[in-house]
Symmetry: C2
Subunit: 178 residues, 2 copies
Amino acid sequence: MAGAARLNATSAVLLGLLHEGPLTGWDLVSTAHARFGDFWSLTKSQVYRELAAMSDGGLIEAGDTGPRDRKPYRVTRAGEAAFAEWLAREPEAESIRLPLLLTVAFASRLDRARLTEILAAKRAGHTGRLDDYLAARDRLRASADVDPARLATLEYGIRHERAVLEWFGDLEAILFPA
Amino acid sequence: MAGAARLNATSAVLLGLLHEGPLTGWDLVSTAHARFGDFWSLTKSQVYRELAAMSDGGLIEAGDTGPRDRKPYRVTRAGEAAFAEWLAREPEAESIRLPLLLTVAFASRLDRARLTEILAAKRAGHTGRLDDYLAARDRLRASADVDPARLATLEYGIRHERAVLEWFGDLEAILFPA
DNA sequence: TAGAACATGTAACGGGTTACATGATTTG
DNA sequence: CAAATCATGTAACCCGTTACATGTTCTA
């Protein structure tokens, strides 16, 4: 029965997507990547593993196998309950792991030219991502049915990237004061 | 010889700290927490595990055991080389995992009052963290020997927190357009 | 002298990543 | 008919977290 092992965030994401209709593992991978990839990554190994576990736990059920072994899953009542409980809980603290800041923290031990190179590359990456987010926002706003939740998460990305880019702008001045 | 298994970021952090002089596992835990905790967390289990592994790999060496079984480690030549190589590499992409954004992404399935509650709590947390960072920056600037690298990482935190707080300010308007 | 802080570690688990393995269907 | 894409999954590893286990030294 219910007491099922606490849902982890990755399964919860999958369960949440399945609330919109049956999907196969493959669909879940691509949908999750498109919708949440910017702030929650997952791999197909995880997806198939969690689907198997949730199926065992009675949170989802597989429907009839279609062409190419497509196996659509749908949420059960127990799954709906588990998801509702997960969604209403206090969200975990974000786990922060920023490899670039480690490099910066040890900047004094790094050749300055190499450091500049690394920073330029990272900066370009963030610029590109900001552009992507802005373009996505434009597209979203222009579309018929704007999904406010998607707009909200996109907006997070935009503000974050802008902040990071501002930081890059001041970084050399901070690291190498006159 | 060298070909030693690629250094992971957590060992690299420890190695980097050991470049400033011998430290015990205990010292490393507290120093790493103080210096990098804002963007790279680690636990003592990891520290003792990585110290053992690096010692096996010849990257560090234990000195004489002191009182309370204090066991100071120091970096070897091989360790210096491994760290230098690690530091000059292209930093990994940041792994992003923001549980709050999952909650926001599924906001439409969540009771609005509960959502507001969750957002308020998270927002307060970010406000507190920003205050901490600002205070730390003041202290750092006032100190005799300002460490530019520490200032740079702190500055990242400050800009990030400000951006997040701005986002919170607009969030309800985005999620619940008039 | 009791409790806090110091100090070391192990064991077990959870979950993210990568590599491996296989085959079906579509499309050019 | 070849190549790309679709589609499923397993195995092994790495590493972060939590709980467990033990003992020492300082300090109030």
